[in-house]
Symmetry: C4
Subunit: 184 residues, 4 copies
């Protein structure tokens, strides 16, 4: 479903009526927001893929925690379109952070539900640990939301910071896979 | 296909033109309807997933019963958008219930077609029994449709009741899986 | 991809502005066209599913014959919207038939490419034979296209006839599966 | 995700208001652009399918190189709509080439990341070699971009040339598959 979401988001990039640079210029903030959202959802896509690969037991609780995450991600095309079309105005920029924050919380809940259901031998628990990177992201989102009413660029800078922080694939989980392959 | 449906539904959340709270406020009923529809479709997604996992024999009849269910679910983005944009007016609220009712009937038919095709040893028959919860949902929808013309809030309350009733995953089917795993 | 296509088609059912029957009434032809297209694409979905299950060798030619079929099916949301919004006017009704005809031809080509590539032992050849039903459908489409300029209802009746003719799942292919299961 | 992309692109073919030929005529350039984009994305779909089938090791780098390719392809519906609606005007025609060029570069990077990660025994390296066809395509795109400001038809001819050049499935990769099947 994350694949569908990241794809339909392009429908918020409305085709302009004119055919010159003047017609394209107002689309620049929409495009930049699109790039940011694409990267942020792509990060979820990759991490979610690794997460499920490390999940041994899918209970009803895991299914609902997963749908809860998808709910918040499903709002990304909407907040992306709203923030982009309003040149990063205060309220849309803050709402963008709210959706990201709740998606982050939902991801954290999903991790905990899986680990809790699997008990002491959970492979995910061993790989993720306390998920410091996830918690730092949420702290940055919490900071970005009120900052949007002071200066939107500060909030945008925080969103970009989170994206850059995650662009490096999760070496803990990758390392875990490699360990298992080597029979460690 | 249910994954695609639940995702494109967000396209009915049209991005508003302004960037302040006044621009966002009229979207509240659309958003609430979106949340309700997301939960109701997610319930179908989960139950449908369990249903197919318990299905041993896919005949032509099962394929068509499944497509019949998908037809009614495919109308959800439309009735969600119509009910939300009209602040839960009478006719859209009733039509929302009509689509839910027919989706419920289609799901029941799908269950029966699978069970009928598999005969006495059907694992699904053992798990689902008479499907009391499905029948109660349909009774509530039948009540909600005329009630929309008396007071829409009553209908909405019934839709929310059905959602809450199903949010608990189907323990009968889960229990059945666990029994089978344990070799019972 | 057919699953995606049949799902996004609902986006052509635009949410009306009013909330009473007068607002809903003009949508009736769009809705009827939607139902017809849903059934016709669902038929392709089922048959295509059976077709690929009987295909043992996927060559480059098969991939392109398949994409050729998907191209014509991808135009269905467009012609569905156009025919529905113009209350089955002559030209849109004819164009609807043109797209169906080319989809039918593309399906026939796909069958032949698969059979040709597999040679004398092709399971598909044994199951499909000369594909009389496919050829009859194409003849009906060829008749429906000019008839749209005489009386659109005649064309619509022919489209419905084809849908009804196919709604019965392809017993030849189903029978073939059963034979194979029984080791015949 | 490429399957989703190629499907939602039809949503850029907006249903016209009238029902006669005069209403349909302005859609011709949009339709032609749609056909061109459908073929170009279908080529990526096929090649990408073969590429992944020859990939033995999916690292974090491969995942991100893949998402980078999907990013550029995700812009295809937008540039397709813009070029089509402006009857192949200069700037939209050039931008269409820019997106194609970056998609081509991203595909090349993806190939190199896979080959680099697999080392000397990479099956992909043996199949693809220096990827002359990919490099020629990029050279043609680089030529087409400035040519759009001289004469758009020249650029369009180059885009069509690339499509025709690739329509023939990649025999090197197909041959490699056949060799492996034969135990060579």
């Amino acid at each position: 479903m994350i694949a569908i979401l990241i794809t339909i988001m392009v429908l918020e990039l409305h085709v302009p009526h004119g055919s010159d640079l003047a017609a394209l210029a107002p689309l620049l903030p929409v495009f930049l927001t699109y790039v940011l959202s694409f990267v942020l959802i792509a990060i979820y896509w990759n991490n979610h893929h690794h997460l499920l690969a490390l999940t041994d037991r899918v209970t009803g609780g895991v299914l609902w925690a997963n749908l809860h995450l998808l709910f918040w991600l499903s709002l990304m095309p909407f907040v992306t379109g709203w923030m982009g079309e309003n040149h990063f105005a205060a309220l849309p920029t803050a709402l963008y952070g709210v959706v990201l924050l709740f998606a982050g919380i939902a991801y954290y809940i999903l991790e905990q539900v899986i680990i809790h259901g699997e008990g002491a031998n959970s492979r995910l628990r061993a790989a993720v640990g306390g998920d410091a990177k996830g918690i730092i992201s949420m702290v940055l989102y919490i900071a970005a939301i009120p900052l949007a009413f002071v200066n939107q660029l500060l909030s945008d800078a925080l969103y970009v910071t989170v994206a850059l922080m995650w662009l490096v694939p999760d070496r803990r989980i990758e390392a875990r896979f490699r360990q298992e392959e080597n029979g460690a």
